[in-house]
């Protein structure tokens, strides 16, 4: 399809269909309702299935069932709804099933607000649900990237038999930008789904069981270690990030998603003032791009982490910098989106005022 | 696993044309549902021994009275019993 002006939520939904998703189970919640609405319109036209579940709890369990039966399946929600899905996500990871989850983050905690936030970083990258597991987390900064990462998410999910989350915020969900969906080709070498519950007559007689229960501790340990071998591989090979104007940067802003765009505008303003500042933009939040930091740490005087939260990715940046340079943090929360001018002020403060 | 085909100790060895009741004895948990359900009351627990699970297995002690109704087999939760006639 040609470049088309789309809303972020719709771009994500359209990309999912483009990548072969034919099953969607979800529940309405602001600010992501355009995703289920789009799916309810478009999936029946192509023989796909849209089910509006009775809750996010039911939706994630439908995802578990459909993923176990071998389908490419999507669900979407926003922060409080993603909280409800955590048990199900843990089950999906424990049963080693592929699926794509979309979180269009809003203000929290609790019922919070409906405006954008980035306050689910911990939930997304450090667990969320119970037990030892990870979800691969992809963080787009614009709509084309949202569409591209959604398609990549399906491939990564199938490749590793693990849930993959596209982590966006209400700004990205509601923005309109041009998006191009080129013809989709699945990643090479995706394994066949010879574990899916399709019925023994389809599978040549051997029963297939999808399960995450291992009552014997030695078996459960072995199982978890095997899953973590996958995560080791993911950490080795699936890291994605962007460096923008970091070659000579004295201040390196670390930001993802919407705040990275704001940082980019702030960098333009700063550079015009002679301030040498750049952006390190994680695209995968899990696996976090720790390897991106060493070359940048040498030259930088300081790091500035900008998030729409009280400081969550900040912890991973502290690990990455390992105390070698100072780290400043600027956060807005409650649904407030910082302006480029606010970020410029932070940079100026770090560098002792506007540059020569 | 040990299987018991019962012609009861009490009945004479002769040509049988009546029903056969076969127990996969090591699956029996001694729950006595078959004993209760049997309409001719020809089942009991063999209290002289235990199976590999530690239960007294159910046995037919009077095969002569067996009608082959298979009620015992139907009620057995562990599919211990096969009935032929």
């Amino acid at each position: 399809m040609a470049r088309k002006l789309m809303k972020g939520n719709e771009a994500i939904a359209a990309a999912a269909i483009n990548a072969g998703c034919r099953h969607f189970f979800g529940y309405p919640i602001t600010p992501q309702n355009e995703i289920p609405e789009y799916m309810s319109r478009e999936l029946p036209k192509i023989g796909g299935v849209y089910v509006q579940a009775e809750s996010e709890v039911a939706a994630i369990n439908m995802v578990y069932g459909a993923a176990g039966a071998g389908a490419r399946v999507l669900t979407s929600s926003s922060s409080p709804g993603i909280s409800l899905m955590q048990e199900g996500i843990s089950y999906i990871a424990g049963a080693e099933l592929p699926c794509v989850l979309v979180n269009i983050m809003r203000g929290g905690p609790g019922l919070g607000g409906v405006q954008p936030s980035q306050a689910d970083y911990f939930q997304a990258t450090k667990g969320g649900g119970h037990g030892d597991y990870h979800v691969v987390v992809l963080a787009p900064a614009n709509l084309q990237e949202a569409a591209d990462l959604t398609q990549l998410a399906f491939d990564l999910a199938d490749k590793y038999r693990n849930p993959v989350m596209v982590l966006a915020d209400g700004m990205i969900g509601q923005l309109m930008e041009p998006v191009e969906l080129s013809p989709y080709h699945p990643m090479a070498g995706l394994p066949p789904k010879d574990w899916a519950t399709t019925g023994t007559s389809r599978s040549g007689g051997r029963r297939r069981i999808i399960n995450s229960l291992y009552l014997y501790p030695d078996q459960l340990e072995q199982h978890v270690r095997a899953i973590f071998a996958k995560y080791a591989e993911i950490e080795r090979t699936e890291v994605r990030y962007e460096l923008h104007r970091c070659d000579d940067a004295e201040v390196v802003i670390v930001a993802y998603g919407t705040t990275s765009r704001i940082a980019r505008s702030a960098i333009e303003k700063c550079r015009r003032q002679g301030l040498r500042v750049g952006l390190l933009r994680p695209i995968t939040l899990y696996p976090f791009p720790f390897a991106a930091f060493p070359p940048v740490i040498e030259r930088a005087k300081a790091f500035l982490v900008v998030e729409m939260s009280m400081g969550q990715m900040l912890d991973d940046v502290k690990i990455a910098v390992a105390g070698r340079k100072p780290i400043a943090f600027y956060g807005r929360t409650g649904g407030i989106v910082p302006t480029p001018e606010e970020v410029v002020k932070q940079v100026q403060a770090l560098l002792g005022g506007p540059g020569a | 696993m040990p299987i018991t085909t019962l012609s009861s100790p009490a009945s004479p060895a002769r040509e049988r044309s009546g029903p056969e009741v076969i127990f996969a004895e090591d699956l029996c948990k001694g729950c006595e549902l078959c004993i209760t359900i049997c309409p001719t009351k020809i089942l009991k627990l063999d209290l002289t021994r235990v199976n590999s699970r530690g239960y007294h297995p159910a046995i037919v002690y009077n095969l002569m009275e067996c009608s082959g109704c298979a009620s015992c087999a139907k009620i057995c939760p562990d599919s211990v019993i096969t009935v032929r006639r």
């Binding site: 089910v51 579940a53 039911a58 069932g65 519950t197 | 729950c31 006639r85």
Partner: protein, 248 residues
């Protein structure tokens, strides 16, 4: 010599872990036999609950998925919507279906999901050691109603068949028991009919089977069957609550 009764090929050879005399074993047999007799075992997917039957995937000789507590109807919805020509059933106890899973069962019925639900009602939480269930009878002592279930603060038991029968898209809802051979025979016919409804794409079907928990009721297996007859049937009348084919 002809075989009158033998173990169903719809069951695996794995010995069942259920307590002696527990009716789970009987109900598993009725389900397995029905699937074999209808010729659908090779395209069946079972959804196991959390409860004593959590290992049901070891006993049914077909593909299975383990579900989170109460979520089996949602999991079954996902499986069925991917392969609508497969036969998908859930097997749930009274905590799984009538407590934590109440939302899922009502909405699967509401949507008319073409699945079959086997609801094993023994008025108690067995696996976790005998706590009160939504279907526990008033006055019945459990570990969390030590003085007997009290109407004040704990309410009266839920009648699932009666409730679900009011939902328009249900095709077949019936309540049966397995405490005697005549009742077991009716139960078998009901379960087979429920699966037949799914084969014919008629909509949502559910069979509630009044069952025993000898261990947590503190009764012998034989006395437990009698307890069903004397105490549960008056509270949970047997019969067909919904049948779009007009049967009784």
């Amino acid at each position: 010599m002809k075989t009158v009764y033998e173990k169903s090929p719809g069951l695996t050879d794995i010995p069942m872990h259920y307590c002696p005399g527990c009716t789970h074993g009987i109900i598993h047999k009725l389900v397995a036999e029905s699937l074999v007799e209808l010729g659908v075992l090779g395209r069946t997917v079972a959804v196991a609950p959390v409860g004593c039957a959590v290992f049901a995937y070891d006993y049914f000789n077909c593909d299975s998925q383990e579900a989170a507590h109460g979520r089996a109807p949602a999991v079954a919805t996902g499986i069925k919507r991917v392969h609508p020509d497969n036969i998908v059933f859930t097997y749930q106890g009274d905590g799984d279906l009538a407590s934590i899973g109440m939302g899922e069962i009502v909405h699967a019925a509401m949507r008319g999901e073409n699945i079959t639900v086997v609801f094993v009602n023994n008025a108690i939480y067995g696996m976790t050691g005998g706590q009160m269930a939504p279907t526990t009878l008033v006055g019945q002592p459990t570990t969390t109603s030590p003085l007997g279930r009290s109407r004040l603060g704990q309410g009266a038991p839920l009648r699932i068949c009666e409730m679900l029968a009011t939902i328009e898209a249900t095709a077949y809802i019936s309540r049966v028991s397995v405490h005697s051979i005549p009742r077991l025979n009716v139960a078998k016919r009901a379960i087979k009919k429920a699966f037949q409804m799914q084969v014919e794409n008629r909509g949502f079907s559910l069979v509630e089977v009044l069952s025993t928990c000898p261990t947590n009721w503190g009764l012998s297996p034989v006395d437990a069957l009698r307890w069903v007859e004397q105490n549960m049937i008056p509270a949970y009348p047997l019969g067909v609550y919904k049948d779009i084919e007009g049967g009784t």
